[in-house]
Symmetry: C2
Subunit: 341 residues, 2 copies
DNA sequence: CTGAATTGCTAATCCGTATTACTCCTGCCG
DNA sequence: CGGCAGGAGTAATACGGATTAGCAATTCAG
């Protein structure tokens, strides 16, 4: 009890047990191969450790080992936001589960400052190195940050597919939006639809681009797409109907809801007059008038596998660094055969 | 680029800039008082740092300083659970907000193993020391852990009031359930009620004990309390009615809902025949048939202030270590004047 | 009964950074 | 010209624990 009780070091233990600091370390790490400690000495040391409640300082350990059992989580939005909460929690739940299983703690990089409305990993005093590796979460991740992470050979895994950064592959565990969207189009076609429309940016975030890509693959290159250039729901509906589409595939659920209201306002019934397919789970909390037909993103599983992949990378065994998981179709009630002409 | 690119040290920077490691450190910490570095040398070092993207290893720093800008969060349930999610997120949101403001990262102790259905802080290889201090969250926190934390003089703050552990005061930011509950009883009395009943364990967790204490203070020592010894909602209702109570104060919202259903099954209307007051927000997701009258817990604010208090403690300025925040009354629709006899 | 092997433990070193003490150099004053 | 002030930078050390090399004592083989 020199100055800070509880701030015990191995030297303190050594002194109390009448041995050297080395011996304490050896007893703690219990390595019969490295050195032999007499059973009674070992017991004496262990007794002191038990009595004092000593625990090794993980930081000091980490200076010698390379791993600290800490995984970083970097989110490009607040981790516990009010909006979009429901969307992100499943990812985090998966991440937490997996971290718990592998005995790692999670470090949330809350200290990252916000610049231009976005958090940045790389800032003046970035703490990335505290963690052994990092999971990245967010709709859009600046390519500059990704390429720098790759260049520095920092171990990380993105949740969600990412384009190559500077020509270098980015490790990720994503959802196969291309296949999932194409599958939805095929289902609509199977139920009689022939003309399709897409609502969503179709660019920017990879997730949006992938959905459009899947749509184009199944619906054709000339099927109409309505993005931000048409902000008003009524105008969007107009475009869709003008194109003769009977099934609309919507990136954001909020857009689907707005479109639904516009359709109702025009006296159209859903799905009898117009089928609406939601391409994923809501990213913002919306009051949905229907259970939309579409698919759901394996968010928890994505989080899980991202951490699993990361730990594999950290242990030097990562054959595959990119994974796409399948989305699960949701029956819903907004897909019906098209109206007869 | 010797072996691990991106794994730069000050020594590497020093070599590249043709100076000593000490100089690099001095430039980085920019302390004109400690040593004088020629502007051109400083610039040369800074240029190398910029070019290489070097960032100091926070862990090594922490070995010398006492603060690492990392706050631990220990939850006695999973942080991102499916159940009780809605209850805990506001706390975490407050914690995150406050951590972000003070430039700290959050370390979630996901590695803590579960023993006897509860996570334990103190286990074989506890990582507590990685963090400068710790916020504890959970309905019940084992007194043994608390007293050990206090004994070790580890800086921590509980979210939620805690009893003294081993006669030592536990730092916390809690909600004043005693006052909030008493206030609800007074309101019921003001609207004409004379006989009250309490549903809830009334013991175990401090939060439950406090609610009962508030109830007793306002309703009297002999007002009936129904706990786990009467598991069936119908039986509970029976007890309450037998006692002639016209207003019931319920700890857990799920109990309130069950009680409501039991009342309906008996042909009683709420609140005309029986007033039901909810003593706080739902801790488990329930389908509530009413917006219950009662109060709401300042969860986000509790999280915020817990972190603020912790950072104050870490900087050696913590005049008060226990705080109780007021709960906000909720109007709701389940309190009405008692039925006329 | 000597040399080698084994046992049981410790001194020394390292990890990456911050800090203290010290050295070297230049210029200035008396 | 000696000494001293101050500028510019570096060597040395500390932090707490893991590891390596090595030392002293004992045991064993020949």
């Amino acid at each position: 009890m020199s100055q800070a009780p509880g701030r015990l070091t191995q030297r303190d233990i050594a002194r109390l047990a009448g041995v050297s600091q080395t011996t304490v370390s050896l007893v703690l790490n219990n390595r019969p191969d490295a050195a032999r400690i007499a059973p009674e000495t070992r017991e004496r040391v262990l007794r002191v450790i038990r009595e004092t409640g000593y625990a090794a300082d993980p930081l000091a350990r980490r200076m010698l080992k390379q791993l600290n059992q800490i995984l970083g989580v970097f989110t490009y939005e607040p981790v516990f936001p009010s909006t979009s909460a429901d969307f992100y929690y499943p990812f985090l739940r998966g991440i937490e589960e997996s971290a718990e299983e592998s005995g790692c703690d999670l470090l949330l990089f809350t200290s990252a400052p916000v610049q231009d409305g976005l958090r940045r990993i790389f800032h003046e005093n970035n703490r990335l190195r505290v963690a052994d590796g990092c999971v990245l979460l967010g709709r859009e991740i600046p390519a500059a940050e990704l390429s720098r992470l790759v260049a520095e050979e920092y171990p990380f895994v993105c949740v969600g597919r990412r384009d190559d950064a500077d020509g270098r592959a980015v490790p990720y565990v994503g959802a196969d939006y291309v296949a999932a969207t194409a599958e939805q189009v095929d289902r609509a076609r199977a139920s009689g639809h022939e003309r399709f429309a897409f609502v969503g940016p179709g660019a920017g975030a990879e997730s949006s681009a992938d959905r459009l890509a899947g749509f184009r693959r199944a619906a054709g290159e000339d099927a109409p797409q309505v993005g931000v250039e048409v902000p008003e729901p009524a105008d969007r509906l107009e475009r869709i109907l003008d194109a003769g589409a009977t099934a609309v595939f919507v990136d954001f659920l909020s857009d689907a809801v707005e479109l639904t209201h516009a359709a109702h306002a025009r006296g159209l019934r859903i799905p009898e007059d117009l089928s609406v397919i939601a391409l994923g789970d809501p990213t913002t909390p919306v009051e949905a008038p229907y259970a939309y037909t579409g698919f759901t993103i394996p968010r928890q599983e994505m989080g899980r596998q991202a951490v699993e992949l990361l730990t594999q990378m950290l242990h030097g065994q990562a054959p595959v660094t990119q994974r796409l998981l399948a989305c699960r179709p949701v029956q819903g009630g907004t897909l019906a055969p098209p109206p007869r002409r």
